[in-house]
């Protein structure tokens, strides 16, 4: 059995999304539940939170809740912000 460790902030943030989305009102709830159904039978040997955030992102785009271009643009912006902080250190 793997040695246990505390979750990283990233993992806690994904976990928070997974706890809050099914309790939310509106279309994100159904998108979450659909993602959950699809992951139930997917291979699950590693990287639980990575698999979840990837599948959730795909479902949100597929269901039209987030536009693919908006997501791509936001990811690029997040990376750019990180590079600015790194450069500033």
């Amino acid at each position: 059995m793997a040695v246990e460790r505390e979750l990283t902030l990233y993992e806690k943030r994904v976990d928070a999304l997974l706890q809050l989305l099914p309790r939310s009102d509106g279309p994100a709830r159904e998108t979450f539940l659909k993602t959950q159904r699809s992951l139930k039978t997917a291979p699950d040997d590693a990287a639980y939170f990575d698999r979840w955030i990837t599948a959730l992102a795909e479902s949100l785009v597929a269901d039209g809740l987030i536009a693919a271009e908006d997501l791509k643009a936001r990811e690029a912006e997040v990376r750019a912000r990180l590079e600015r902080w790194e450069a500033a250190e």
């Binding site: 309790r23 009102d25 509106g26 279309p27 709830r29 159904e30 539940l33 159904r37």
Partner: protein, 91 residues
């Protein structure tokens, strides 16, 4: 509770219908017979989509299944699951 169709001790069978979409009745228990142990109360139907807070309320039951009734083989063990009323019929 007066609205609950079943009471503790009742033999119930889990429906074996298909359900597309969100469902909290596990496939391995569909079509299986168990006994109601407890009426757990009334809860919102998880299958009703999108507007969860408006979902209708249903009685929920603690149902105990004997190993042979779940898996078709002898065994000392049991499975217990919480099943919504609309998935149960009298056995």
């Amino acid at each position: 509770m007066s609205d609950a169709k079943f009471k503790p001790g009742d033999l119930v069978r889990v429906d074996d219908r298909d359900h597309k979409g969100h469902c909290r009745t596990p496939i391995y228990l569909r079509g299986k017979t168990g006994r109601v142990r407890e009426v757990l109360g009334v809860f919102r139907n998880p299958e009703e989509l999108a507007y969860f807070k408006d979902a209708s309320a249903l009685p929920l039951y603690d149902v105990v299944f004997q190993w042979k009734d779940v898996w078709g083989v002898e065994g000392p063990d049991e499975v217990a699951a919480d099943i919504y009323e609309h998935w149960l019929e009298r056995a």
